[in-house]
Structure formats: structure tokens, C-alpha cells
């Protein structure tokens, strides 16, 4: 119960400070769950985000559900998602009820313009950290650049980028000859654990 409450509160905090798309939540998730609590591995978060990105629904909600589930099953998923959504509900309800002219309040406009710059800086920092956490191979760099260019220049849907890179990952491991022995080990281990 204590853990569920903590998950709820952490995702409440994340929901309160995610400006922009779902990617903007990654620096805060990493700080809270990887650096501060050590509840989750850094690479796992990026995997969850990739899954969130390539399944239907709001990416941030998908990522929150996936992360919450990995921490505490279905209850964790519900705690994380409701925590993430709660600040939106509160803030938007307040704006809809009291600040019909929200957009004309210059204070928020100025703050938001600068927050966007901070988000860009935080995202660049996360991308560098992802590179440091990767295998740093030439082929990874190639996939990174290709994904970036396809998205920026050709406006390709992220779903295709993720599916394509998944296929590339499997092919690369296959041609390197890593797949067969890995299969072998995997099945042996499974058999051992069955006994």
C-alpha cells in the first residue's frame, strides 16, 4: 500500500511537470525511479517508452501504465496512470472554470516559452545519456541517425520507425550469429528452471 501511494505521488509529480509530448516525462521518470529510488533500470524505461509509442493510446499514459505495471502489477499500473492524469484533471478543470481567458494572460505565455527551451535542453541531455548507455556501435549510431532523419525530413510515423528498427535489430543479431546460441541458452535455462 505504501509503495502504491509512492507510485501515485511520483507520477502525480511527473504529470505536473510534463510540458509537451510524452518524451518530456522521461527526464523526470529517470531521475525519480532510476537515480533516486533504483526501482527500475534505465534501459527498461526506454523500452517501455518504445512500447508506449507503438501501441494505440496516449503515449504518456501508455508509458505510465507500463512503468507502473512493472513496479507493482495491475495495481501499480492504475496508481501510476491515475497519478499522472490527476494534475491534468485539476489544472484543466480550474482553467475551464475560472480562466476562460487563460491564453491572454501574458505571464503564462512567457513562462511557457522559456519552459519549452528547458525541455529541449533536458531532452538533449537524455539523448546523450541514452547514447552512453548503449553499446556505442557504429550500427547503433546509424539506426539513431536514420530514425532521426526519417522522422524530421520525411515525417514518417514513429510506429514505422520502431517496427523497422525492431526488424533491423533482429537481422543484425542474426547475421552476427548471436541469435542461435542465445536461443540455445534461453531454452536450456527454461528447461532447467522447469525441473
Amino acid at each position: 500500500m505504501k509503495k502504491l501511494l509512492k507510485i501515485f505521488l511520483i507520477f502525480f509529480k511527473i504529470g505536473s511537470f510534463t510540458f509537451g509530448g510524452g518524451y518530456a516525462m522521461l527526464p523526470i521518470i529517470k531521475r525519480e525511479l532510476v537515480d533516486n529510488l533504483g526501482w527500475i533500470k534505465e534501459n527498461d524505461i526506454y523500452n517501455y517508452y518504445a512500447i508506449g509509442q507503438s501501441t494505440p493510446g496516449i503515449i504518456a499514459v501508455n508509458t505510465a501504465t507500463m512503468t507502473g505495471y512493472s513496479l507493482c502489477g495491475i495495481k501499480g499500473a492504475l496508481a501510476a496512470t491515475s497519478g499522472f492524469i490527476m494534475p491534468s484533471l485539476i489544472i484543466i478543470t480550474l482553467i475551464a472554470s475560472f480562466f476562460k481567458r487563460f491564453q491572454q494572460i501574458n505571464l503564462f505565455q512567457h513562462a511557457f516559452a522559456a519552459i519549452q527551451v528547458a525541455v529541449v535542453a533536458l531532452i538533449i541531455d537524455i539523448v546523450i545519456k541514452m547514447w552512453q548507455k548503449s553499446d556505442k556501435s557504429k550500427i547503433s549510431l546509424l539506426i539513431f541517425l536514420l530514425a532521426f532523419l526519417l522522422l524530421v525530413i520525411f515525417d514518417l510515423s514513429p510506429v514505422f520507425v520502431i517496427l523497422g528498427s525492431a526488424a533491423a535489430g533482429i537481422l543484425i543479431q542474426y547475421y552476427r550469429g548471436n541469435l542461435q546460441p542465445a536461443y540455445h541458452n534461453y531454452h536450456n535455462q527454461n528447461q532447467e528452471s522447469d525441473k
Partner: protein, 187 residues
């Protein structure tokens, strides 16, 4: 009855909108026309507010439309409808993912996906910077190259980035600091 309609319609949006809040836009457009809940201009205004307030853009917009249509309960129900497909689908995926994530095929797939996700996130930062720092959107209106950069934003970007690398404070610290700087220096 309106609550049931809100829940089901937003459930559909959540089910079919693939690829983030903005992918939901055409669905929302159809929705408000179909039921006559608001004008397109009002919807665009709501989306603009949803983009500049914390939280996922899709969730914010759902709360807004629901609230506008059927008060506070409407906002809650529309949001629950939008989030429900995510919770169901992801819970099923997560359930199987735990037993498959050590499978060699899945591990190989993720070895390719991870650098692509880095590219995805970098492209999101680029798109954000395109509007806020490089002024690419204004370039067609005045061909003056000196106005290519928004120097104030570029300067802030360099400072915040250096601070992130040096001090490693909580991301929320930088967001709050930027908000304050934005208000003081009128960004």
C-alpha cells in the same frame, strides 16, 4: 446519457489514436462536429491551452472538452474514457512482456529499437526547437537570416544545458527556473 456518450467516444479516440496527442486531433475534430459540442475555433483554442499546461496534451484536451460539454463530471469521464484503452491494452502487453522480455528475439528487437527511440526523442527536441529557438516557422515571412535564431532562447538553451551537465539537479528545478526566467525576461 451525455456521460455515456463522452466515455464511449473518447474511448474510441484512445483506441484508434496512434502516435501521441496530436494524432487524436482529427478524431476530436469529427467528434465536436458530429455532436455540435463546440466550434473548430474553440477546439483549437482548447488544444493551444492544453499544449501549454502540464500533462499529456490528449488528456488535457479530453478534460477540456468533457468539462465544456458536461461540467466537472464530464471532464473526468471523458478523460477516463481516453485513458481506458491504454490501460487495458498496455496491461495485457505488460503481462506478457514480463515473460517474453528475456526471449532472444525480443532482446534482439530491442537492441535495434533503443537507438531508434533515441532518434525519436531527438527529433521531438528538434521539432520543439524549430518553433522556439530557430524561428524556422517565421523564415518564410521575412528572409532576413539574422532573424533565423531567437538569440534570447538560444542563449537560455546553452545556459540551461550547461547547468544540467554540471549540476545534475532534478529536472523540475530547471523547468521552474526557466519559467521564472521566462516571466522576468518576457520570453
Amino acid at each position: 446519457m451525455i456521460y455515456l456518450i463522452l466515455f464511449l467516444e473518447f474511448f474510441k479516440v484512445g483506441l484508434f489514436a496512434l502516435g501521441g496527442g496530436l494524432a487524436a486531433l482529427p478524431f476530436l475534430q469529427d467528434l465536436i462536429v458530429k455532436y455540435g459540442w463546440m466550434t473548430s475555433a474553440e477546439l483549437l483554442n482548447m488544444i493551444a491551452i492544453s499544449e501549454s499546461t502540464p500533462g499529456a496534451i490528449g488528456i488535457n484536451t479530453a478534460t477540456f472538452i468533457g468539462n465544456n460539454t458536461a461540467g466537472i463530471p464530464g471532464g473526468i469521464i471523458a478523460t477516463a474514457g481516453l485513458a481506458a484503452p491504454s490501460i487495458i491494452i498496455i496491461t495485457i502487453i505488460a503481462h506478457y512482456f514480463e515473460s517474453f522480455n528475456q526471449h532472444p528475439l525480443v532482446k534482439s528487437a530491442f537492441s535495434g529499437i533503443r537507438p531508434a527511440v533515441a532518434g525519436l526523442i531527438a527529433s521531438a527536441a528538434f521539432e520543439l526547437a524549430r518553433g522556439g529557438i530557430f524561428n524556422l516557422n517565421n523564415l518564410q515571412f521575412n528572409n532576413n537570416l539574422l532573424q533565423f535564431f531567437d538569440y534570447k532562447s538560444l542563449f537560455l538553451l546553452v545556459i540551461i544545458f550547461a547547468a544540467i551537465r554540471k549540476f545534475k539537479k532534478h529536472p523540475i528545478f530547471y523547468i521552474m527556473a526557466a519559467a521564472l526566467i521566462g516571466i522576468i525576461f518576457k520570453f
